[in-house]
């Protein structure tokens, strides 16, 4: 969507391009340079945070495609991450498989799981679908726990850093670029998918399923494809997550993880790719921001025990505030700010969206 007024598309090529105006290219280049230069100036702590943001972004994009675009409510997201991580762990521990085997394997198993999770969506909608995905999440985590118990990996499974050829991926700087690249690929993929036939079919299913069926969209196929796409992306992110943390254990894949991802897409703004990006940044950084506020306020020692509980509660509070005050999410806020500047000095109430 072009920012500039006075910009007209004069060819089909221009219509299809992702970035249109010169200012658009300008901003993009500046952003890219900034992101590439960032790790050389940032502390390891900020580097870690940024890497976490990229990693979570892949999963958030997947969930946004599934729930935001295709309209299939899924509360089993942590199950996909767990599957990717466990496949990696199992292959690593049992067969000592390298990353170029575990990564596609995670994706493959994720796809199978996506089909399984997606089957109820052919019959159920709304609340029922949500609860079925919730049930499957618990079953997946139970199976993971059983594996850990049976094979004796009590404290969880430790994974060595992956290697491509003789080159070990261990340095935080290397991880930053790897995850940046992965997130970028995922982002590009999602943006294009949304503009494609599949994306349009999904939106049609989300908005008016009966009509979609009537105009010839193969509803079951597209519903399953939404689940499978989301599942594959998420389980690949699960595999990367396992390598990044170097550790797989069932406690990390709780319902709270799913809730964090759902919060990302809701706070970001349901139904937009930009929403997934903004939401991820917000949710990953929020706890640390609250920590920062706590530290900046110089709270006396005794009270810090209470501060922690406040931080714990504030995540829920922030979510509630967003849901009540701004259901459109961060994207809606961004649009408002952007429109204000575009229309300036004319102050006109914009239409929604």
């Amino acid at each position: 969507m072009p920012f500039a007024s006075g910009h007209f598309r004069t060819s089909y090529r221009a219509d299809l391009s992702l970035v249109e105006t010169r200012t658009g290219w300008g901003f993009l280049t500046i952003l890219m340079i900034g992101l590439v230069a960032f790790p050389f100036f940032a502390s390891p702590f900020l580097l870690d945070l940024a890497s976490q943001v990229y990693l979570s972004l892949i999963g958030a994009l997947a969930l946004m495609l599934l729930t935001g675009f295709a309209g299939q409510i899924s509360l089993g997201h942590a199950g996909f991450i767990a599957v990717g991580a466990y496949v990696t762990a199992i292959l690593f521990k049992e067969l000592n498989a390298p990353i170029w085997v575990t990564l596609p394997a995670s994706g493959l198993v994720g796809a199978v799981l996506g089909v399984i999770f997606g089957l109820p969506s052919l019959r159920l909608k709304g609340v029922y679908l949500a609860l079925s995905t919730l049930a499957m999440h618990f079953i997946v985590t139970y199976m993971g726990a059983e594996y850990e118990t049976r094979r004796g990996f009590a404290t969880g499974i430790v994974i060595k850093p992956p290697s491509i050829g003789p080159f070990y991926i261990r340095d935080p700087l290397v991880w930053y670029f790897l995850l940046f690249f992965a997130a970028f690929v995922a982002l590009l993929f999602s943006v294009n998918l949304v503009r494609s036939r599949s994306g349009r079919a999904w939106v049609a299913i989300r908005d008016r399923e009966v009509v979609a069926e009537a105009i010839g969209v193969k509803v079951p196929f597209y519903k399953l494809s939404a689940f499978v796409t989301g599942a594959v992306m998420t389980s690949i992110s699960g595999c990367l997550f396992a390598y990044y943390r170097g550790f797989v254990s069932v406690e990390a894949y709780s319902l709270f993880l799913t809730i964090q991802y759902v919060a990302m897409i809701i706070i970001g703004g349901l139904g937009t790719i930009l929403g997934a990006v903004l939401g991820t940044i917000f949710v990953v950084l929020l706890p640390y921001a609250i920590d920062g506020v706590g530290r900046a306020l110089e709270v006396p020692d005794r009270l810090t025990t209470y501060m922690f509980a406040i931080q714990y509660a504030s995540f829920g509070l922030v979510m509630i505030i967003f849901l009540v005050v701004e259901p459109g999410g961060l994207v809606a806020i961004w649009n408002r700010i952007r429109n204000y500047f575009i229309l300036w000095p004319f102050r006109r109430r914009t239409l929604r969206g």
């Binding site: 052919l122 029922y128 406040i310 509630i320």
Partner: protein, 290 residues
């Protein structure tokens, strides 16, 4: 025989938690994922009241119940009221966020220590022998009895009192009900208040029978299979649902493995969703035919 007694007590506990859930869904079609947290709050209210105000069990329970009900009303007033027109997903998420907030507040106010309200009230949870040396605890009996009484009371209220009939009307056809002059918000708030009360009461009993700790909220999660099996909007359905899930759990513990008992309710849930999604007694909602 002991296994049967255990199952009955467990099923009663689930039905107490589940009926609040059904009430809210029936009135406003909102799925309340914070029912476990409401239950825990009830237990904590009881603890605070027993510690500070009254030492005897009966007034403590009574006052704590009032607090729980007030909590339900406040939740509606400050949160769920705004969710009235929003999508299903947003409403579900609002209750999830509410759950997180409540859990944080519990840790803030009461810390994560393990508490025993019974200690403060000075009574003990004795055991009584029933038939053939199957034993039940005092609070086990309280669970079963109160589940029974509350159900009867709810049933009678819904069927025969003006409030109950209006709440049913609001659930079935909100538009028509509001045209008729029934204030929707009041009845939604009422459903939340009653749900918080029944859930809180279950929490109070559980905290006396067992222990009071923040981890209690996990029981609420197991309630979804219960209400789904029975039918999301069927009060009567909660009871068979509770029994089925309780039996599945107990069988899992005794004959499969203890870990399976965590997954068993959800396997039952899945099975139900695939066979008969609207549950045993729920109203048929429109579904897809593939």
């Amino acid at each position: 025989m002991q296994i049967i007694v255990n199952t009955v007590v467990l099923a009663s506990l689930y039905s107490l938690i589940g009926c609040g859930f059904v009430l809210i869904y029936r009135a406003s079609r909102v799925v309340n994922l914070a029912q476990g947290e409401l239950m825990a709050m009830g237990g904590y209210f009881l603890f605070t009241v027993a510690m500070g105000l009254f030492k005897d069990p009966v007034p403590s329970f009574f006052v704590a119940s009032i607090f729980s009900m007030a909590l339900g009303f406040m939740i509606y007033l400050f949160l769920m009221r705004f969710m009235a027109g929003e999508s299903v997903f947003a409403a579900i998420l609002a209750t999830i966020a509410l759950g997180i907030l409540l859990r944080g507040l519990i840790t803030l106010i009461w810390t994560s220590q393990l508490w025993h309200p019974l200690e403060k009230m000075g009574i003990t949870n004795g055991s009584h022998t029933l038939i053939k040396d199957a034993v039940i605890s005092t609070f086990g009996i309280v669970t079963v009895l109160s589940a029974f009484l509350i159900y009867v009371a709810l049933f009678l209220c819904l069927k025969f009192t003006r409030w109950g009939l209006r709440m049913q009307a609001v659930g079935e056809n909100p538009l028509l009900a509001s045209r008729r002059g029934i204030k929707l918000h009041n009845y939604y708030a009422l459903s939340w208040g009653v749900a918080a009360f029944t859930g809180g009461f279950a929490g109070m009993i559980q905290s006396c029978d067992s222990i009071l700790e923040p981890g209690m909220v996990a029981i609420g999660l197991k309630t979804f299979p219960v209400v789904l099996v029975g039918g999301l909007d069927s009060l009567i359905g909660v009871i068979p649902g509770a029994f089925i899930v309780a039996i599945a759990e107990v069988i899992a513990i005794n004959y499969i493995s203890p870990q399976a008992s965590e997954a068993a309710p959800f396997i039952v849930l899945l099975a139900m969703l695939l066979i008969r999604p609207w549950g045993l007694f729920g109203t048929k909602e429109e579904l897809e035919r593939v």
